[in-house]
């Protein structure tokens, strides 16, 4: 394999990396190279054996491995080069990339463009500061998922799940079906963190108690988890005295959010957005570093895999163009600013010169709202929820309606029908 003439290098081969690489190849990039840390393509999809993937992308209800298989086949057919069990250790501002594996040793290449598709990581106990002892039996939901679905171990017999993210709820169902007693799901917010369908089909279907506005205040046990203390929280998410109760369990799973994986991005000098969590990108999903693009959960954590792949395709397509024609001529830059009830917006900047796919997350749940982007987009929504990102496609001709030469556009969610 020659590393001297890579057109587009894609880091990671989950639902983002595979989609980006395929798109880049289809858009004419000749030498597309995927660098994957694991021993197979697909990233996290392999451990997501449940269904609910691809309903939008393929119009079919697929499981994670089935979703992965479709992309893997295409990668093979298109002749995209793949390096497995290969860890990218460094990327520089001028796209010098260093990777290492046990066959080739250190690999040095300078691709014409790079797509960051490393996905995200789970938040762990260290980031929550739960008091108590340090016994065995505390896992992130994703680690438990890997143990149960890939490696063939059941993490415990009596489980409490902190956080009602999708992976936590899906594990509640999976463990119940494997004969584990799931004693409770504890959520600090007044509503579940994941999708409604998962609340119904994973918790209600299996009669798993859901404690809203509760949190875990103490973990008990010396060698192994023996119990957790839970307590109700007030409006400021502080535990309320006198509401504590103990739940006996041997395992605590954490499903308390995901954070984009930023290590390589930072190394390359890519600017990060504290609101979305990952790199600041424009509508091409290009970062502030010319020729370095990003797509999927590395940019901001999506709710649906379909959107991960779609967004990465944007990055892949423009990365292909960059590799063939060089840097884009940038005529303008408009910054998107979050207004009322907006948590995050991707892309954070646009040129106004090409079509844009926006992903917008609100801060609080509200019914009967209007979402506005400057004076060019205004639409009513029956409900806006933090757990369900809003996708807005704007065509270039709609952007042409922008009056004057604005340097910023406010995105806001206002009450109204």
């Amino acid at each position: 394999m020659k590393f001297s003439d890579v057109d587009v290098a894609v880091i990671g081969s989950g639902p983002a990396g595979m989609a980006a690489a395929i798109k880049a190849k289809e858009e004419g990039a000749e030498h597309v190279l995927i660098l994957e840390r694991q021993e197979q393509l697909g990233g996290l999809l392999h451990q997501c054996v449940h269904n609910g993937f691809g309903l939008l992308y393929f119009g079919q209800d697929l499981t994670g491995p089935e979703y992965a298989c479709r992309f893997v086949e295409k990668i093979r057919d298109l002749g995209i080069e793949v390096l497995l069990e290969t860890m990218v250790t460094q990327i520089s501002f001028d796209r010098k990339l260093t990777a290492v594996n046990s066959r080739e040793g250190p690999i040095h290449t300078q691709p014409k463009s790079i797509v960051l598709a490393m996905g995200c990581r789970e938040r762990s106990r260290g980031q929550l500061s739960i008091p108590g002892t340090r016994p065995a039996g505390i896992f992130t939901a994703g680690t438990a998922q890997r143990l149960v679905n890939v490696e063939g171990f059941i993490p415990g017999k009596k489980v409490v799940i902190l956080g009602s993210g999708d992976i936590g709820m899906i594990m509640a169902r999976r463990l119940s079906l494997e004969g584990v007693e799931v004693k409770a799901v504890i959520e600090i917010l007044p509503y579940v963190g994941g999708l409604i369908r998962n609340e119904v089909q994973c918790l209600h279907d299996f009669d798993i108690p859901l404690y809203l506005e509760y949190t875990v205040t103490q973990i008990h046990g010396e060698q192994r988890v023996e119990a957790v203390t839970i307590a109700r929280v007030d409006k400021n998410k502080r535990p309320v005295d006198g509401t504590e109760q103990n739940i006996e369990c041997d395992t605590l799973l954490l499903s308390v959010g995901l954070i984009p994986e930023n290590e390589l991005s930072r190394m390359a000098g890519v600017a990060l957005d504290p609101l979305a969590g990952g790199p600041v990108v424009d509508e091409r999903r290009e970062t502030n570093v010319p020729g370095i693009f990003a797509g999927g959960n590395v940019v901001h954590v999506h709710d649906l895999v379909d959107d991960v792949s779609w967004e990465a395709e944007i990055a892949g397509a423009w990365a292909a163009q960059f590799s063939q024609k060089g840097a884009f001529e940038k005529k303008g830059k408009i910054v998107l600013r979050p207004g009322r009830n907006i948590r995050s917006i991707v892309p954070q900047t646009i040129s106004g010169q090409s079509d844009v796919t926006f992903y917008i997350r609100v801060k609080e749940m509200e019914e009967k709202v209007r979402l506005r982007i400057g004076d060019i987009y205004d639409r009513a929504f029956r409900v806006a929820k933090p757990s369900e990102m809003i996708k807005v496609d704007l065509l270039q001709k709609e952007l042409n309606l922008l009056k004057g030469n604005p340097s910023e556009l406010v995105v806001e969610c206002q009450k109204g029908e």
Partner: protein, 121 residues
């Protein structure tokens, strides 16, 4: 007259609906839904709630200890636990291609259990 509460999963709104059911088991009134599709979903969820079952089965002569499978069509919700138990007794050997039938006619339902991945070694 009895009442059944069903949450609609059709959209992020998650409407909490209430069905009034008479002594003959007929739905006489549905309240709480906000669209036609929601009303239809709630009725079907009341009459016959079904779910696709996804699981893993054990392997033999393979580098992987487990292999993912699912039912080819949704099963009755009430059959999920029993079906999961049946699958604990299934063992598969490579080679298997995605979509291949692993267990035909699960519990005489006419529904097959199929592979959701390739198992080449």
């Amino acid at each position: 007259m009895i009442e059944e509460k069903i949450i609609c999963i059709g959209c992020p709104l998650g409407c909490e609906t209430t069905l009034k059911i008479d002594d003959q088991g007929e739905v006489v009134k549905i309240t709480g839904y906000k669209c036609k599709e929601g009303r239809q979903y709630v009725l079907e969820e009341h009459r016959s709630p079904v779910r696709v079952l996804t699981a893993t089965v054990l392997t033999q002569n393979s580098a992987r200890p487990l292999f993912p499978v699912r039912t080819s069509r949704p099963l009755l919700k009430t059959q999920l636990r029993e079906a999961a138990k049946v699958l604990t007794k299934v063992k598969v050997k490579p080679p298997i291609r995605v979509g291949q039938i692993i267990l035909p006619n699960l519990m005489n339902t006419g529904i097959d259990v199929i592979a959701t991945d390739d198992l080449l070694n």
